[in-house]
C-alpha cells in the first residue's frame, strides 16, 4: 500500500477563488492510501515545495498528489521537488484543478465537488504508480540547421563556435535568405550586405560547418540525440568542389531570358547563374528548365568556356544520409501572394510593387543598380504611396489575408519612406497606416525622424482602390483624421505585404513530427518559457518560422536556439522518458499487432524459452520494446489483444482506476 500525501494549492485566488481548497484537502484525507493532506497558497513556491519535501520525510510518503495547475505547467517542478526529497519523481501525480476546474467553473460548490473528484482520480492513479527510471541513449554530436537565412547562419555559427559540427541545408543555390535581398536595415540603416556577407563568409570558412545548398530534407527518422536524416542534394549540373565561381559560363550562356528569382523576376538571368556576387557557395547552378543542353541536348557552351571543367550535364540528385543529435528549423518566411488583392491593381500595373520588390529596386546590386526607377517605364517616380497592413490583421474568416500582425512592415515602410526622401527630396511620399507599431529599441525614434526630419506624409487611413490611368496610378484613400477621401495621382505604389511561413514548413513539420499553428508557424514548447524549442524533443526553432520577426529578434532567437542545441550536444547521454511501453513476456503472443502500429519501429521480437508445467519448456516468440526509441504513445497497448503490452506511467490499471474514481 502506498503512503500518499495530498497537497492542494490555492494558486492565490486562482484556485481558492472558486474551489474550497481546505474542503478538498479534507475530503481527500479519507481516500485509500492517503496519510497526509494539506493546502497552501502557492505550492510551486519555495515555501510550498518545502512543505512537500518535509511531508515526504516526516510521513514517509511513497507517492504524492498535487492538486494545482495543469501538469503541463508544473509537473516537472513537483517531480524535481519529489526527487530532491528522495522520492522517485514518477510517484507524483497532478490533479488539474485550475485550468480544468477553477478557471472554467464559476460556482464554488461545483468547483469544489469537481476538484475533489479530480483529486480522487489522481490519488487512485498514484496508488498504482511504480517508481520509474529513465533509460539512457547516446547523443550524436552534430547538428542540422534547416534553412540558410540569417537565422540559420547565426545558429550554425554559434553552434560551430562551441565546437560542434553543423550542417546547413538550404533549398536555394546560396545561403543568405531574405536578408541578402535587403538594401538597408532599420533602425540603424546599415547596409544589409555589409553585415550579412561577412557572416556568410564565416560560415563558408568554418571547418565545423558544411553547407548543403540547393538541397532539401527528404526524410527524418530517429529521435532526440539520434536523428537519421536523408538530405537530397539536387543536381546543379556543376561540380561544386571544382567550380571557381569565375562567372565565365554565366556571361556566355545564350539562354539569357529567365526571370531572376533573386530580383523577384524584375530582371533576367541566364540558364546557368550565380544568384548574386557574394553568394556562398559561389558556385554556378544550371536551371534545368531553362538550359537548352539539358532540355534538348543542344548547346554545351558553358562546358566549353569552363576552364576548370566543372560543368557536368549528367549530374544526378544525390541522397546524403547523416545522423544528427539536434535539428534547428530556420525555414523563414515569404511575402504572401498579392493575387487576391485586386483593389490594389498589383496584377494590372507593373508600378504596383511589394516592399520586397522595392527593396531590390533601391539595392545597389538590384535590377536598377540602386536607382529608383519605375518598373514600367524607368522614369523616376515623383509621388510614391506606401500602403501598410496589406493582408495582415485580417479577419479570421478572410480568405485573402492573415489574422496576425506581420510585425516588420511598419519599420521597413518607415525605412523605405525615409530613404526615398533622403535620396530624392523632391519626391512626395505618402504612407497610409492603420496603426504604426514601433516597439523596439530606437524604433519609434526612427519613425518620428521619418515624419519630422524627412517629411514623410503619414496618413491615418487605408487605401481603398488603385486604378492605373495613363502613366499614373489613381490612388483613392481615406484620411480618417481629417475625415476626407483623398485622391492621389501616384507614380509608384508599394504594398507592405503580410508575411507567411515558407511553403516547405508544413511538410517539414510532418517529417519532424513538430506541431504547427493554424497559420503554419511552428509552435514553441511554451510561448513564454520555452520559445525556441519545438514540443518535439531535439527540434529547435530559429527565426520567422516560429512567427514574424525582424532581424535583431531573429538573431537573438537564433543564438538562443544555438545555446539550446549546444546544451543538448554537450551531453554524452540523454535520459529518456521512462513512460514507455513494455511487454509482459508471459502474456505476449508474439502476434506482431503492436509492431505494426508502432510509429517508431521500437518493437522487435525474439524467441524465448519458457518453463511450462511438468518440467517442460516451450519456445515462444515475444515482443520487446526498445525504451530509447519508444516515445510512449501507447498505440501498441490497444493493438495488443492479450493486454501484454502496457504503458508505464499510463498503465491500463492506472487509467481504469481514474475512470473508476471519476465514475464512482
Amino acid at each position: 500500500m502506498q503512503r500518499v500525501g495530498v497537497f492542494v494549492c490555492w494558486c492565490g485566488s486562482n484556485i481558492a477563488g472558486t474551489v474550497d481548497v481546505a474542503a478538498v484537502a479534507e475530503a481527500l484525507k479519507n481516500e485509500p492510501g492517503v496519510v497526509f493532506s494539506t493546502d497552501y497558497q502557492y505550492m510551486c513556491s519555495q515555501a510550498g515545495q518545502d512543505i512537500i519535501k518535509n511531508a515526504i520525510a516526516e510521513h514517509n510518503l511513497t507517492g504524492i498528489v498535487v492538486c494545482s495547475c495543469s501538469p503541463r505547467m508544473h509537473e516537472a517542478t513537483f517531480r524535481k521537488t519529489a526527487a530532491a526529497a528522495g522520492l522517485n519523481p514518477y510517484m507524483v501525480e497532478i490533479a488539474n484543478i485550475r485550468e480544468q476546474c477553477s478557471w472554467v467553473h464559476k460556482d464554488m460548490t461545483t468547483g469544489t465537488e469537481k476538484a475533489i473528484i479530480l483529486g480522487k482520480a489522481a490519488v487512485a492513479k498514484v496508488n498504482l504508480n511504480t517508481p520509474l527510471t529513465p533509460g539512457e541513449s547516446p547523443v550524436t554530436k552534430r547538428a542540422l540547421v534547416i534553412g540558410g537565412g540569417i537565422a540559420g547562419i547565426q545558429t550554425a555559427l554559434d553552434i560551430a563556435d562551441a565546437g560542434f559540427p553543423v550542417d546547413i541545408v538550404e533549398t536555394k543555390p546560396t545561403i543568405g535568405g531574405k536578408m541578402a535581398q535587403l538594401d538597408k536595415t532599420f533602425p540603424t540603416l546599415d547596409c544589409a550586405a555589409c553585415i550579412l556577407t561577412p557572416k556568410m563568409v564565416d560560415v563558408a570558412q568554418n571547418e565545423k560547418i558544411r553547407i548543403f545548398s540547393y538541397s532539401e530534407v527528404e526524410e527524418v527518422g530517429g529521435f532526440v540525440g539520434n536523428f537519421d536524416v536523408k538530405i537530397k542534394k539536387k543536381a546543379r549540373y556543376v561540380k561544386e568542389d571544382i567550380c571557381t565561381g569565375c562567372g565565365a559560363c554565366v556571361d556566355k550562356c545564350p539562354m539569357k531570358k529567365n526571370p531572376n528569382e533573386f530580383n523577384l523576376g524584375m530582371d533576367n538571368r541566364p540558364a546557368i547563374y550565380i544568384p548574386f556576387a557574394q553568394a556562398v557557395p559561389k558556385v554556378a547552378t544550371i536551371d534545368p528548365n531553362a538550359c537548352n543542353m539539358l532540355k534538348n541536348g543542344k548547346c554545351g557552351l558553358c562546358a566549353r568556356v569552363c576552364a576548370a571543367g566543372a560543368i557536368d550535364y549528367t549530374q544526378k540528385d544525390e541522397i546524403i544520409e547523416e545522423k544528427y543529435g539536434a535539428i534547428v528549423v530556420a525555414t523563414g518566411f515569404n511575402p504572401i501572394s498579392m493575387e487576391k488583392f485586386d483593389e490594389f491593381a498589383y496584377n494590372q500595373s507593373k508600378d504596383v510593387i511589394t516592399s520586397l520588390e522595392f527593396e531590390r529596386l533601391t539595392n545597389a546590386a538590384g535590377p536598377t543598380a540602386g536607382h529608383l526607377e519605375r518598373p514600367s517605364d524607368g522614369k523616376s517616380p515623383k509621388t510614391i504611396v506606401f500602403v501598410q497592413c496589406v493582408g495582415s490583421r485580417c479577419d479570421a474568416c478572410s480568405e485573402k489575408g492573415k489574422e496576425y500582425c506581420s510585425k516588420i512592415c511598419c519599420m521597413y515602410t518607415a525605412k523605405h519612406a525615409m530613404l526615398t526622401r533622403d535620396k530624392y527630396p523632391d519626391t512626395d511620399v505618402y504612407v497610409f497606416y492603420i496603426d504604426v507599431r514601433t516597439p523596439g529599441k530606437n524604433f519609434d525614434e526612427f519613425y518620428r525622424r521619418a515624419v519630422e526630419e524627412f517629411g514623410v506624409k503619414y496618413i491615418k487611413g487605408m487605401v481603398g482602390k488603385v486604378t492605373p490611368e495613363g502613366d499614373k496610378l489613381k490612388v483613392q484613400a481615406s484620411d480618417l483624421l481629417s475625415n476626407k477621401q483623398l485622391h492621389i495621382d501616384a507614380d509608384l505604389v508599394v504594398l507592405a505585404a503580410a508575411i507567411e511561413p515558407d511553403k516547405s514548413a508544413r511538410p517539414l513539420a510532418t517529417m519532424l513530427t513538430a506541431s504547427m499553428d493554424t497559420n503554419d508557424f511552428f509552435t514553441e514548447a511554451h510561448p513564454k518559457l520555452r520559445p525556441v524549442e519545438s514540443p518535439t524533443a531535439g527540434v529547435f526553432l530559429s527565426g520567422a518560422c516560429q512567427g514574424p520577426k525582424d532581424i535583431p529578434e531573429t538573431v537573438s532567437q537564433a543564438g538562443a536556439a544555438a545555446s539550446k542545441v549546444i546544451g543538448l550536444l554537450a551531453k554524452d547521454k540523454l535520459t529518456g522518458n521512462p513512460c514507455v511501453a513494455h511487454s509482459n513476456e508471459l502474456m505476449c503472443n508474439g502476434c506482431s499487432s503492436c509492431e505494426r502500429v508502432c510509429p517508431y519501429g521500437a518493437i522487435t521480437y525474439e524467441d524465448k524459452e519458457f518453463r511450462m508445467p511438468n518440467r517442460t519448456t516451450k519456445i515462444r516468440r515475444v515482443a520487446s520494446v526498445n525504451p530509447a526509441v519508444c516515445q510512449g504513445c501507447g498505440a501498441c497497448t490497444v493493438a495488443c489483444p492479450s493486454g501484454a503490452m502496457d504503458l508505464k506511467g499510463f498503465a491500463n490499471s492506472q487509467i481504469i482506476a481514474e475512470v473508476d474514481a471519476i465514475c464512482k
Binding site: R393, D395, S398, I434, K460, M462, Q476, S478
Partner: protein, 128 residues
C-alpha cells in the same frame, strides 16, 4: 423607442459585429459615394457601435449609399459596413410606423421588366 433597442435591432438585422472593426478606414477609402455622404462608412460602423444612431437615421447619407458592397468586399476585418447602412435604412422605415407600400400601390409602380424577386425583397423591406 429606446436607443439601445434600436442599436440591438440594427445589429441583429444586419448580422454585423462592429467590434471587429480595427478603424482602418478602408471602407471609406473604397466608397464611390464618399463625397455625397455626410457620415462615411467607417463612421457608420463606429456610430452604430457607440449607439449613436439617431443622427444616422436622420442623415441623407443613408440614401447616398449605392449598396455597391465595395466596402464589404474590401474590409479586412469582414465587418460589412454596407449591411449596417441597410439595417439603419430598415430601422427608419420601421419607425415610420406604417407600411411604406401596400399591395394596391404596386401595379402602377412596376413595369414588365421588374423581376419578381425584387418585388418580394421590396415587400420584405418596406412593410412591417
Amino acid at each position: 423607442m429606446n436607443k439601445n433597442f434600436i442599436q440591438e435591432e440594427i445589429l441583429r438585422s444586419s448580422g454585423v459585429n462592429p467590434k471587429k472593426c480595427m478603424k482602418c478606414g478602408k471602407c471609406s477609402a473604397t466608397c464611390p459615394a464618399y463625397d455625397e455622404m455626410e457620415y462615411h462608412p467607417h463612421q457608420f460602423v463606429s456610430m452604430v457601435e457607440n449607439g449613436d444612431i439617431e443622427p444616422l437615421m436622420n442623415s441623407k447619407s443613408l440614401y447616398r449609399c449605392l449598396s455597391c458592397f465595395a466596402c464589404i468586399d474590401r474590409c479586412p476585418r469582414s465587418v460589412q459596413p454596407a449591411k449596417l447602412v441597410e439595417a439603419v435604412r430598415l430601422a427608419v422605415v420601421r419607425q415610420q410606423g406604417k407600411n411604406h407600400l401596400t399591395a394596391n400601390d404596386i401595379p402602377e409602380l412596376i413595369d414588365d421588366e421588374t423581376p419578381q424577386q425584387l418585388l418580394v425583397s421590396a415587400f420584405r423591406k418596406y412593410t412591417k
